[in-house]
């Protein structure tokens, strides 16, 4: 015990049986791994958590092992796949695993979980290591968009090196557009254009839908909210970060202009007029028969419907290039354009990267592995087949997309300009739960305002409790 009965350490609680909590639901998860040490594993084994199936994790482990051996002959990499329907699910499972005492050394986590993990001191700031190795990392910083770096900062510190991202652009079925006799959208198209397209595609019949979307934080009705000039939370930036911007971007001060120490999410603004207008627009689209009722989380159903030619337009990022190709769509049967402009051309993105756990006992080796992960040659080992967008611009080439498409692949990177990371504060999980619930409530009732008032109250409660 550390503080009488008021506060006892986690292992003491486990010893008393408290770790078994939540009846039998939590028993396996919480006590199953309770005996291992913080960073665990044999000497020289770097453990990494990966969002995906174990078969993919094992393939990744085998592919990266030769590279790891070049860093340290005795080092081995152990990648554990964690399944989940979305990042919310993944983060919940990672945190439960950490609670069991089997925290890994490296975690691959997206924007959704960064502030949550950083705020709980689960991740170690990389500032000193980046500063120390800046010369070897300079080519990385020269190549990667500073918005991605900034999205991985929290309270002035850098917690992850990003290697991938997905910005919310608009995918469309070229077949359905041709059938509807509308030209493919050009850069700079507007919401009026989008609505006009939607009406013409919907006129093709009841077997197709003009537009479909998924209820989640990334690329949902939130894309329309951003384009409408709003956000779920007040946008701000932490001070700090000069240690990085002044050095790593010394040769490109224009790119670093206005950058800070990470995104600071302030008071909830979920029921702002912009939010109500954006969500009500999509509800009206659904009620007028132009859009089906969206699924919650994931996106597999949407991808299947789009690939089978039943959806005209939907929000997607670079991950859809590989996803649609794997679903059997031929290059040319779909394409992508920047998200249509509404009141602003603000859009959203989420980034993925690698951080080191505070509890790791092999931080030096873990850092070397993290640096390896963001090397250009590692990208296709980590993400074979265009299942995400490379963070390094040098990897965005016509050759990369010549098999999968789409024709306007450069949109993926261009979308980053003027875009804002998804608003994932330290209380992200509570925010995501409320977002899903209140959005489905709005769709069922048809009343965006009432549902968003509820969302606002939920967010305020979650923010107070965080």
């Amino acid at each position: 015990m550390t503080n009488g009965l008021g506060a006892m350490d986690r292992r003491t609680l486990f010893k008393l049986g408290g770790g078994a909590g939540l009846a039998s639901i939590g028993l396996g998860a919480l006590t199953g791994c309770g005996s291992s040490s913080g960073s665990g594993g044999s000497s020289g084994t770097i453990k990494m958590l990966y969002f995906g199936q174990q078969s993919s994790a094992t393939a990744l482990q085998k592919a990266l092992q030769p590279q790891i051996a070049k860093i340290d002959k005795t080092a081995t990499l152990e990648v554990t796949g964690i399944n989940g329907t979305d990042w919310n699910d993944f983060i919940a499972k990672v945190l439960t695993q950490i609670a069991s005492g089997s925290a890994p050394d490296i975690v691959s986590v997206a924007t959704e979980g960064l502030q949550q993990m950083a705020s709980k001191d689960l991740l170690v700031p990389l500032d000193d290591r980046v500063t120390k190795d800046l010369s070897s990392l300079q080519s990385y910083f020269d190549d990667i968009h500073p918005a991605l770096i900034e999205s991985m900062m929290y309270q002035g510190h850098l917690y992850e090196l990003p290697d991938s991202f997905n910005a919310g652009s608009m995918f469309y079925s070229t077949d359905l557009l041709h059938k509807a006799n509308v030209p493919e959208p050009a850069a700079g198209w507007t919401m009026d254009d989008f609505h006009s397209y939607a009406k013409k595609i919907a006129a093709l019949g009841t077997k197709v839908n003009a537009f479909d979307w998924v209820v989640r934080l990334w690329g949902s009705w939130t894309s329309f909210l951003y384009a409408n000039g709003g956000n779920l939370l007040e946008e701000g930036k932490y001070t700090g970060g000069d240690w990085l911007w002044s050095k790593a971007y010394a040769n490109n001060q224009a790119a670093a202009a206005g950058r800070g120490g990470g995104w600071k999410w302030g008071q909830p603004t979920a029921n702002s007029p912009e939010a109500v207008e954006a969500l009500q627009y999509l509800i009206d689209l659904q009620r007028s028969g132009m859009s089906p009722t969206p699924d919650v989380g994931g996106g597999g159903t949407l991808q299947g419907l789009f690939a089978s030619g039943r959806i005209g337009m939907t929000i997607g990022g670079g991950f859809w290039a590989g996803g649609l190709h794997n679903a059997g769509m031929k290059d040319g049967s779909f394409d992508v354009q920047l998200f249509p402009k509404w009141k602003t051309n603000k859009s959203l993105f989420g980034a993925g990267g690698y951080g080191i756990f505070n509890s790791s006992k092999k931080k030096d080796l873990a850092w070397e592995v993290v640096k390896l992960m963001v090397q250009p040659e590692s990208f296709d080992i980590l993400f074979p087949g265009n299942v995400t967008t490379p963070g390094r611009k040098s990897l965005m080439t016509a050759k990369r997309y010549e098999t999968t498409g789409p024709k306007h692949w450069s949109v993926f990177y261009d979308q980053l300009n003027g875009s804002v990371p998804i608003s994932a504060p330290p209380y992200y999980n509570a925010l995501a739960t409320s977002l899903n619930q209140r959005t489905t409530q709005a769709i069922a009732s048809g009343n965006a305002k009432a549902a968003l008032d509820g969302m606002q109250a939920d967010f305020e409660k979650a923010a107070q409790g965080s």
């Binding site: 550390t2 008021g6 008393l16 939540l22 009722t293 919650v296 739960t433 489905t440």
Partner: protein
């Protein structure tokens, strides 16, 4: 001694995997714990919070409504099917129907829920497709408040009714033939025989089926979690879903444990009420 040895494995299993977690949950419900920071003792604060938390209270209401619907439909449908099958004289027919009605119980609830989610999809689902062919407009099965509740009840009943059905078939088979013959000689119609003779005689089985069905229904999780994620809004957010969200998503394990304990107490209370009512309603030969 040999007897104790024989039951020891079961006792140890139940103690480790049932009683210990319950006791642990009770202890944990007195703490505030995000699984990362050290737990802090908060006494009964989590229980006080529960009473004032409209979302959690609402989830208990949803749970009760769904449970009553599931139990009522499961029992009445199970009994109706059992009576009909029991009237068949062919053993082949009886075995075939027993197998058919019991099969859904063997399927994975998660797999069934995913599959049913596609079937009941408002826009692309097969159910609405056939309704449309009949000239009936699409039903928002999973995207409206009442639609989602009814769908969840129907799917839960579809999967669980086989268990109740098998219990009732066995009970009806064991009804003494001399009693039935006496009823027939007295001129009782089939319906009168059912309600005045058979049902009273199988009432202990009905009590057992009711208790088991109610306990299961009050812990409903898989179907709403997979098919509706507790929505639309919170229409199908059951107590177990909010417990999961609170614990494993919002990392409030102390509060989630308090919800688990309250749910346990509610289940115990309802089961107790059922046994009390059974004193007057159940007939033991």
């Amino acid at each position: 001694m040999f007897g104790y040895l024989m039951i020891s494995l079961a006792v140890i299993f139940v103690a480790v995997f049932t009683f210990l977690p319950i006791i642990a949950s009770l202890g944990l419900s007195l703490f505030s714990w995000d699984v990362i920071s050290p737990p802090t003792f908060v006494g009964l604060k989590n229980f006080k919070r529960l009473v004032a938390d409209s979302a959690t209270v609402h989830s208990f209401g949803v749970t009760l409504v769904l449970a009553v619907g599931i139990v009522a439909l499961q029992l009445s449908l199970g009994l109706a099917l059992a009576v009909l099958v029991n009237q068949r004289t062919s053993t082949w027919a009886k075995t075939t129907f027993r197998t058919i009605f019991y099969l859904p119980l063997l399927a994975s609830t998660a797999a069934v829920s995913i599959f049913m989610g596609y079937l009941f999809d408002a826009k692309f689902g097969v159910i609405n497709y056939y309704l449309n062919l009949l000239g009936i407009s699409s039903v928002p099965w999973l995207t409206s408040t009442w639609g989602s509740m009814i769908t969840i009840v129907l799917i839960a009943v579809w999967q669980q009714v086989g268990f109740t059905f098998v219990l009732f078939v066995a009970a009806l088979t064991s009804v003494p033939t001399d009693v039935l013959e006496a009823a027939a000689i007295d001129g009782a119609s089939p319906l009168r025989t059912l309600f005045r003779v058979k049902i009273p005689l199988i009432s202990p089985t009905i009590l057992f089926a009711t208790v088991v069905a109610m306990i299961n229904a009050l812990q409903l999780f898989d179907q709403p979690f997979i098919m509706t994620k507790g929505g639309p809004g919170t229409a199908t957010t059951t107590a177990t879903i909010i417990m999961y969200q609170t614990g494993f998503q919002n990392l409030q394990f102390g509060y989630a444990s308090a919800i688990a304990i309250v749910l346990l107490l509610i289940i115990l209370a309802i089961t107790g009420i059922q046994f009390l009512a059974a004193r007057k309603l159940v007939f033991y030969q």
